[in-house]
Structure formats: C-alpha cells, structure tokens
C-alpha cells in the first residue's frame, strides 16, 4: 500500500533520511528506532554503516507498540546478514513510556522515528522519552508527513490525498476508512515550525527556526515530508 500511495517515493525519502544522518561515520553507535516495526529504517542504518564505513558494530534496537509489525520486521531481517547477530533486536514498547530497566537513561547515540510520531497520542511524551534515552551529544531525527509550503502544489497534493488515496485503500485493501483517517491525520499534525518548537521544548538544541541549511528541519518534495533534527547537549 505504501508503494501504491506514494508511487514508491517513500523509499527515496527513507534513503535520504538515513544517509543524511551518516550512521557510523564517527565509529560504531547505538541506535534506537521507534515505530519501526517492519525494519525499514533499521536495515538502512545497518547497511549504511557497513557499506560506507565497514562498520559491523553499530546496533539498532527496533521498538514498536505493535507486536505484529515487529514480527514482520523480524521476518524481513531473517533475509539479511543481521539476523541472529547482536546488531539488531526487536522490542515491544510504547514510545511515550519506555521502561527504564529496558531503556536506561543516556544510552543511545541516535534516536530515529519515521512516519510514526503522528500516530502517537502525546507527541510531547514521545519527545520527553527520546530526550531521556539519548546520551548527551546524541541526535534526535524524525521523518514525518508535514505541510506543503507552495499553495499551488498544496492544492494538487490535497486533491490527490483526499480523492485518490481513500479510493486506493478501498480497492487494494478493502478498507476506505483507514486511509481516509490516514490523510486526515496527516493534516492534523503540527506544521514544521510548530513541531520544531515542540522539539526545542523537550530540551533539544536545534538549528534556526527556518528550513534547510542550518535550520531545524529540511523539507522533502516541497514539504510533503520533512526531517526534523535536534541534539541533546
């Protein structure tokens, strides 16, 4: 369904997201990937570290609230060289309340969450937990659907979202309502500057309140998706 709806573009966004983070550039790191059940981001992180820096020590803890998604991720990882290695693990947990015994404070170098935060009931709680589990100097990076800035492009995007996506949902998945919910939830999520403000409120230090180089966020495809980053000092 993701491929059908985004015409495969979600793969490009995830590639861009992970390569811009350069995991493994400064040596092996400990990563935690939230709402990442199916393993899309985790796999990209491990592959990037291995291919670019010959790093086989970087680890990713894949965390998801949904056990079915984790099962699917585990299954996909079985097809890779990381299966049964300490490089990947799958843990069922709620991003808003990560248990301290399993996720001690100041543990991770990189916290990623891709297309997951908009589905959490309390975004500030997720950000608070992210801040807690990251080491000082650690990076928070979120890839999420956001607001398209160009008004003309926005009209086209809206038209596509509300007309085409629910119909795709009903034809391909037999479920119009879930995909109607999807496009509505995207519209409800805070805008780029609002979300950047929330990240700052959680204690992170980020770039200026603007897009692009030196800014707190970077838009992809005109703002259909956006990458927000912050550092725990």
């Amino acid at each position: 369904m993701n491929d059908a709806m985004s015409l495969g573009i979600h793969r490009l966004w995830k590639d861009d997201y992970v390569s811009s983070l350069k995991p493994g550039r400064k040596g092996p790191i400990r990563c935690i990937d939230l709402a990442g059940g199916t393993g899309d981001i985790a796999l990209r992180i491990l592959d990037h570290a291995r291919e670019q820096y010959a790093d086989r020590e970087t680890t990713v803890d894949v965390v998801d609230i949904n056990a079915e998604m984790l099962k699917e991720g585990y299954r996909r990882f079985k097809k890779t060289m990381y299966h049964n290695t300490p490089q990947v693990s799958f843990i069922e947990s709620n991003a808003q309340a990560l248990p301290e015994e399993t996720f001690p404070t100041n543990t991770y170098d990189l916290y990623t969450i891709a297309f997951g935060i908009r589905n959490c009931t309390s975004v500030p709680d997720v950000l608070k937990e992210a801040y807690r589990v990251l080491k000082p100097g650690g990076t928070f990076a979120c890839l999420e659907f956001s607001k398209v800035t160009n008004p003309l492009f926005n009209m086209v995007y809206d038209q596509y979202s509300f007309s085409v996506i629910p119909i795709m949902g009903s034809i391909l998945a037999g479920d119009r309502d879930s995909y109607q919910y999807l496009v509505e939830s995207i519209r409800k999520f805070p805008s780029q500057p609002e979300f950047a403000e929330m990240i700052k409120d959680a204690g992170f230090s980020s770039g200026g309140m603007h897009e692009g180089k030196g800014g707190a966020w970077r838009d992809l495809w005109g703002g259909i998706a956006s990458i927000h980053t912050g550092v725990k000092l």
Binding site: Q159, S163, V164, I167, S170, I171, G174, R176
Partner: protein, 264 residues
C-alpha cells in the same frame, strides 16, 4: 471549467454508509473496482461498487416502476430490509411446505448462505435510489429461491440474465456478458441453450420483480406467487453433493410427516 466541476468538493453523506464522490473520484472508483472484480471475483465489496456506480439511469426507472404498482409504493414507503434482524427466520421455518417463507429457509440452509452478507450501498447519491439498489441486492437471494437455483456459477449467470431482462441493471448485464468465460464449454453450452432463452422470455414477459413485497407473502404458496408474477421455472439446476444430501433429507422428512398425518 470542466476540471473544476469534476474535482468539486464532495457533498455531505445523505444516508448511513453513503460515501459521496465527485465525478473524478467516481471515474477512478469505477475503473479500479471493475478491474478488481475481474481480478478477484470474491471481492463482494468491489462487485457492489461497480453495481452502485453503473446503475445510473436505471434506478430512477425502477423506482418509477415501483411507484406505478400498489405493492411497489408500499415498499418505497415502508422501506423494509431483509436481514436476520428484520426477518423472523424461526417463524418462517414453522410455515407449511410449499410456502414462500418455508422455501426461503430451506434454500438458505441448502446453500449455506445468510441474508446478512450483502454489502450496503455506498456510491448512489440519492437516498431513495440508494434504497432501491439496496432492495434489489437483498431480494436477489429470494429470486434464487423462487426459481430454485443454487449458488454455483451457471445458476448465478442464469439469474443475472434474468435480472438484466427483468430489471435492466447494467451490472447484471456485465456479469452476464463476461461471467460465462469462467465456465467450461459443456456448462457454457447448457447456459446458452437452456437457461438464457428461459431468462430472456421469462424476464421480459413477467412483472418487474422489484415491485414484489416479499415480506407480506411469506405464507403464500410459491406456485401461486409464480402464476401471479407470470414467471415459470428454469430447467433443473446442478446442485452440489452437500445440497443434494440436504434435499434428500428434507424430502424424507416431508414424506414421513405426510405419512404420520395420514395415520388414523
């Protein structure tokens, strides 16, 4: 201008389950659901979607046919629904053999179907016409029952030919026109040599079945109903082994009951 009209913001839902679509969305849905129907005919929701989207000018004509008959007018006024919640199946089972109600229960059992599995209407915009479409869908099983047709592919197609002739619904026409490719040559030959002539003659000469208030006729004798509507039975159909076994058991029970009655 045309683009603006096609992409205009859709209206609010007018009935339970209504999904209003603008012209562009209707076109997209029609193409997508037609493809999905053929790719996976088990997708009842897709078959229903094509039915909703292609019914177009035929639904007002059916509604007018109903308005022209006293029984039809009562249906439009009261808007009865057929489901396990609205029909007292236990009461029907207790009716005497040969009545419409009793036949319906036997048919449901024999075929292993339930009246609750019909997809509700979503894509017809007028609430009254949406009801007419819903009524057609819910009565389809009763047509099966009336003509003693099982639910295998040839019987369904025979009934679709009949419905196309009697009611004029385009979806029935498509199913009739393309559905037979799924049959082997022997069954297709039988369909066209025996069932289609029956369907055409019977469907065009009889009363429009959409005007029949079935719920008021449960106690009526089936042969009487058929005479009143001007319909007659199709050639005998092929039933599966399980259904044959159930029919034999039924006949046995009926014979025993008759023998018990005949005892002094």
């Amino acid at each position: 201008m045309l683009a603006r009209a096609a992409l205009r913001q859709t209206q609010q839902p007018l009935y339970d389950g209504h999904v209003p679509l603008n012209w562009f969305e209707k076109g997209l849905m029609a193409i997508g659901s037609s493809y999905m129907c053929l790719a996976n005919p088990r997708r009842g929701d897709m078959v229903a979607a094509v039915g909703d989207l292609t019914a177009g000018p035929v639904l007002p004509r059916l509604r007018d046919t109903m308005l022209a008959s006293k029984e039809g007018r009562a249906i439009l006024k009261e808007r009865p629904r057929i489901s396990t919640k609205t029909v007292d199946l236990e009461k029907l089972a207790s009716l005497p053999e040969g009545t419409m109600g009793r036949r319906y229960i036997s048919w449901l059992e024999r075929c292993g179907v339930s009246p609750d599995t019909r997809e509700p209407v979503h894509y017809v915009d007028d609430p009254e016409l949406a009801y007419v479409m819903q009524r057609y869908r819910e009565c389809h099983d009763l047509y099966h029952c009336l003509f003693n047709l099982p639910v295998n592919v040839e019987a369904e197609l025979a009934l679709k030919f009949f419905e196309f002739a009697n009611l004029g619904l385009p979806m029935a026409g498509f199913a009739a026109a393309f559905g037979h490719f799924r049959l082997n040559s022997e069954r297709r030959a039988r369909l066209f040599s025996e069932y289609v002539p029956w369907a055409m003659k019977c469907g065009t000469s009889s009363k429009s079945l959409i005007t029949v208030y079935w719920e008021k006729r449960w106690e009526q004798d089936v042969s009487q109903i058929k005479e009143e509507l001007g319909v007659w039975d199709p050639p005998p159909a092929r039933w599966g082994k399980a259904a044959e076994a159930k029919m034999a058991a039924e006949r046995k029970r009926a014979e025993e009951a008759a023998a018990a009655d005949a005892q002094p």
